[in-house]
């Protein structure tokens, strides 16, 4: 399992395209916001928490179809499924690798991008905390979507349609943490709920994704 985890990270970093792509997308998305709504600092600061969260969420979505697709095409997935690693372990390793290569960089990148949007100073630590916790659940839910669509040709669009509704609670709670922090309310309760949500996905999703993989490999 650890070997698989390392292999996936190395593949993502070395094969190019996947690793930096999400970050570049995030940057461009944030850059587009002032073009769309105008460069007014006050307006940007007000919508910054939501924009950063939506941007990170969409950037997370980009690399999801790679989670299982390449392994399914060359037969590695079948080999892995017949190996002694349980399928839930396989899914968790894949999701964790996806988080390390997508969620974590996005979390770190959110702070400078937040500065560009004029996010108030109180917001940064909560932005990083909420994205750090929330992107874990995004990666796991996304891996579930990837497991469902692995057998479908050109399943990318369908993947987004399936995964985005599942992202709603994470987005609501995550953006709320940051919004509450910058408007002077206590964000602790929201962060606790967000952490609870992430723990729930950690408990629930690997089993569901393993079921989906099993159905697809039959």
């Amino acid at each position: 399992m650890l070997a698989l985890f390392k292999r996936d990270i190395l593949l993502a970093v070395r094969s190019g395209g996947g690793f930096g792509l999400a970050l570049a997308f995030f940057l461009i998305l944030v850059m587009f916001v002032p073009f769309g709504v105008g460069p007014d600092r006050a307006v940007l600061a007000r919508i910054a928490p939501g924009i950063l969260w939506i941007g990170a969420l969409l950037a997370c979505l980009l690399s999801l179809d790679r989670v299982f697709q390449l392994d399914a095409e060359d037969g590695t997935l079948e080999a892995l499924a017949t190996s002694p690693i349980p399928l839930t372990g396989l899914v968790s390793a894949k999701a964790a690798a996806h988080w390390i290569t997508t969620g974590l960089p996005l979390t770190l990148a959110s702070a400078p991008l937040g500065y560009l949007l004029g996010l108030p100073v109180e917001g940064y630590i909560w932005l990083i905390a909420s994205l750090g916790v929330g992107t874990v659940s995004l990666s796991f839910i996304g891996t579930f979507g990837a497991a469902i669509t692995v057998g479908i040709k050109r399943g990318g669009l369908l993947l987004s349609l399936l995964v985005l509704p599942l992202y709603i609670p994470t987005l609501i709670l995550g953006a709320q943490v940051v919004t509450r922090a910058v408007t002077g309310q206590s964000p602790v309760a929201s962060l606790a709920l967000l952490s609870g949500l992430t723990l729930l996905t950690l408990a629930l999703i690997p089993a569901a994704a393993a079921m989906a993989l099993r159905a697809n490999l039959r």
Partner: protein
Amino acid sequence: MSLWEYANPVKFMALSGRILPSATLLSAALLLTGLVWGFFFTADDYKQGSTVKIIFLHVPAALMAINIWLMMLVASLVWLVRRHHVSALAARAAAPIGITMTLIALFTGAIWGKPMWGTYWAWDPRLTSFMILFVFYLGYLALWQAVEDDDTAADLTSILCMVGSVFALLSRYAVNLWNQGLHQGATLTATKESPIDGSYYYPLLICIVGFICLFVTLVLLRTRMHIRLRRSRAVLAREATR
């Protein structure tokens, strides 16, 4: 004699064929009675005027939109546990009805909302939950369309329905934290005495039962259609190999 006998498509077809005419008649009679009574023989509300009468469509449709998803969840679980094809097809048959009910609830709500709240749409938790439910139905239907193998499609949609139910429920409570509501809370409850006046309550009840009958009729009809579609595909496949 148990319920599981009707997991056999032949028995299911025979039984549903026998039920269908009376179910159709019953739902037509109930809906006609309920809606005509509700629309033409109830008094206008002193505040809302005649717009109040939209509840005879709005409330039953909204109830059904949620309960059809629950029915799909149960049918999906039956498929996953006992692998009865009729169950998987019934879940598939129910989804388009569910999404239609969601749309009816959203649209009748919008029509009522314009004169009463002054807006067709507000980002109210209940309204938003329904829009979220609509997206969940869309994803479920799209997945059925996309997967070619029947059994794999049934498996995957069942798993999606299960996970989707958890997240739809989470979304429903998350939106409560996110915005203040404009929509009233639940008025019809099973446990308490209804605060609705009898002149509205009885036609509303008839409409709700009518919608349930309509759903049963439609879901039987559509399940039969899916069974027949699958049979004709099997016949065609056999002819092709001959």
